[in-house]
């Protein structure tokens, strides 16, 4: 057993077992490490973290967290296994209040502990407090992202996975979200995120995986990869996508 906090080995997954989108991807994340997954559209980035989160079935390969096999764990068991996932879209319940969204995030905890954790979330994200009893549909994109992250942190996870946390946000909000994630990492939480905004994401993360056509393409320390001619040509240069 290796010493990595999180490890995925040769994961094969997709929306249907007979049509895999991910063809044997491996990656790892260490404690208090921030890792980015980038790649062109259709590379299988989102599919990969959905599969890890248990939202999509894994047909072969294995996933471990802190040495524990979580490959076949049902989606609702992930929170208790200390892994949190923030989807890209529809990541808050718009018909529920902010407070109810947070209470739901603590569903896997006993009630007293849940209330205590929700209280802590308001301390960490004071901006949410003023909307406590408002429906989440009144929140802006950036506020929703904040609520989604606050919700994911309620169970004190070892690893938080985010699918394009910067999507649809203004440049100012993007740097705010990334700074928040960076703070989390400094407090000991590991972050694994999929990003289209490759340049900004690589600037804040320790390491980066580049996926293409459902396979590992390149991987390495973010600062080094940012200088890699191939990566620059495909993702960061003139041909790079910017949202």
């Amino acid at each position: 057993m290796s010493g990595h906090l999180f490890q995925a080995n040769n994961v094969v997954a997709g929306y249907r077992p007979d049509l895999p989108i991910i063809h044997g991807v491996s990656m790892h994340v260490d404690a208090a490490e921030m890792v980015t997954i980038i790649g062109p559209n259709g590379a299988g980035k989102s599919t990969m973290i959905k599969a890890i989160a248990g939202v999509l079935p894994i047909s072969s390969g294995s996933v471990t967290l802190a040495g524990k096999d979580i490959t076949r764990l049902p989606t609702h068991g992930m929170a208790a296994a200390s892994i949190a996932y923030v989807p890209q879209t529809d990541n808050v319940f718009t018909t529920l209040t902010i407070n109810e969204n947070l209470l739901l995030g603590a569903s896997s905890l006993p009630k007293a502990k849940a209330l205590e954790q929700v209280g802590k979330a308001y301390d960490k994200f004071p901006a949410l407090k003023q909307y406590r009893d408002k429906k989440a549909k009144v929140l802006s994109g950036g506020q929703r992202q904040m609520l989604a992250v606050a919700r994911a942190l309620l169970t004190d996870p070892h690893l938080i996975m985010l699918d394009e946390p910067s999507a649809g946000l203004s440049p100012l909000m993007v740097s705010d979200v990334f700074a928040r994630l960076r703070e989390l990492v400094e407090s000991g939480v590991s972050v694994l995120m999929v990003e289209q905004n490759a340049k900004a994401a690589m600037a804040v993360s320790h390491r980066t995986y580049v996926l293409a056509e459902g396979r590992n393409r390149v991987e390495g320390v973010s600062s080094a990869l940012a200088q890699d001619p191939e990566v620059i040509a495909i993702y960061l240069g003139a041909g790079g996508r910017k949202r």
Partner: protein, 302 residues
């Protein structure tokens, strides 16, 4: 006129009870369950069976036509109807869920409803039956308005049930999980909610309410195996008027349908009364398909 209003509110409150269960299961399980109306029949007959086993109809409570045994029978009926719903879900709906063609599950609910009605017919026979032979005298409550004590009980019971359900949905963890599941099942699971457990509770609540509606309906009319079937259209009309998934909407929808049915006799011949919910349904679907309280987005359980 006053009498018709009172009758409409009574019928409406029974429709509302049935419609609450239907709107919850439709909002959370996301299919039109045509078998829900048969849960009402099943519940009414299970109470009849339980009463028969408990012996003669003793000591009515006050001015009511029934006593404590009927209340006990209602609880037994709720339990037996919940078991039936869980069994149907396990054997029929769950294996079909997630199929590419959503209509399969809707048609299967048609099949289930026929089956349940025939089983009731087989066990209890097709002739009309009554919970009680006690003759009740309507109490005049206002000039031109007479109400049976049983009807007052039905109304009161419905109000208490609706208020308790509202608090359950708003204040408890399970209620919150049900509302979350109605809006976004995947996100609910990501939040650590075991949706299978929540779905089971949804069936239990929906079926229990249907059983209660069945027993209360049985108090005001004679029991026949077709009572549920005849409520099918009013139930769906009530749910769609109120917006799928909206508990409060189902209550208002039920009252509108009940009132429209009983007031229609002033305008059209009484034999056309049964067409009224159908006409309301058509108008709502044409003018506001998401219902009065439904939003353009998929409505959650509220």
């Amino acid at each position: 006129m006053l009498q018709a209003l009172a009758d409409g509110i009574l019928t409406g409150s029974i429709i509302a009870l049935g419609a609450i269960g239907l709107t919850l299961t439709m909002g959370i399980l996301r299919f039109a369950n045509f078998a829900h109306a048969e849960m009402i029949t099943w519940g009414a007959y299970m109470a009849l069976g339980a009463l028969a086993l408990m012996g003669p109809f003793m000591a009515p409570l006050g001015a009511l036509s029934f006593g404590l045994p009927l209340i006990i029978a209602m609880v037994i009926a709720a339990v037996l109807t919940s078991l039936l719903a869980l069994m149907i879900d396990h054997l029929v709906f769950r294996p079909l869920h997630g199929r590419p063609n959503d209509m399969t599950i809707v048609f299967s609910s048609f099949g289930v409803s026929l089956l349940v009605r025939m089983v009731v017919l087989l066990i209890f026979g097709g002739s009309a039956q009554y919970y009680s032979n006690t003759l009740q005298i309507a109490v005049p409550v206002a000039p031109g308005l007479r109400i049976l004590p049983d009807q007052l009980f039905v109304l009161g019971f419905t109000i208490v049930t609706v208020i308790s359900l509202h608090f359950f949905l708003q204040r408890t963890r399970l209620g919150l999980a049900m509302r979350a599941l109605a809006e976004n099942p995947t996100l609910a699971r990501v939040n650590g909610i075991d949706t299978r457990v929540v779905i089971r509770w949804t069936w239990v609540i929906g079926a229990s309410l249907a059983a209660v509606a069945g027993v209360l309906y049985g108090l005001t009319v004679q029991l026949r195996p077709e009572i549920g079937f005849h409520l099918l259209l009013p139930l769906f009309a009530a749910v769609i008027i109120g917006g799928v998934g909206n508990v409060f909407g189902a209550v208002v929808g039920g009252l509108i349908v009940g009132l429209a049915e009983s007031l229609s006799v002033f305008i059209i011949p009484p034999s056309y009364k049964l067409a009224v919910p159908f006409i309301i349904l058509l108008i709502v679907l044409y003018v506001r398909p998401t219902g009065i309280f439904g939003s353009a987005h998929h409505a959650g359980a509220k």
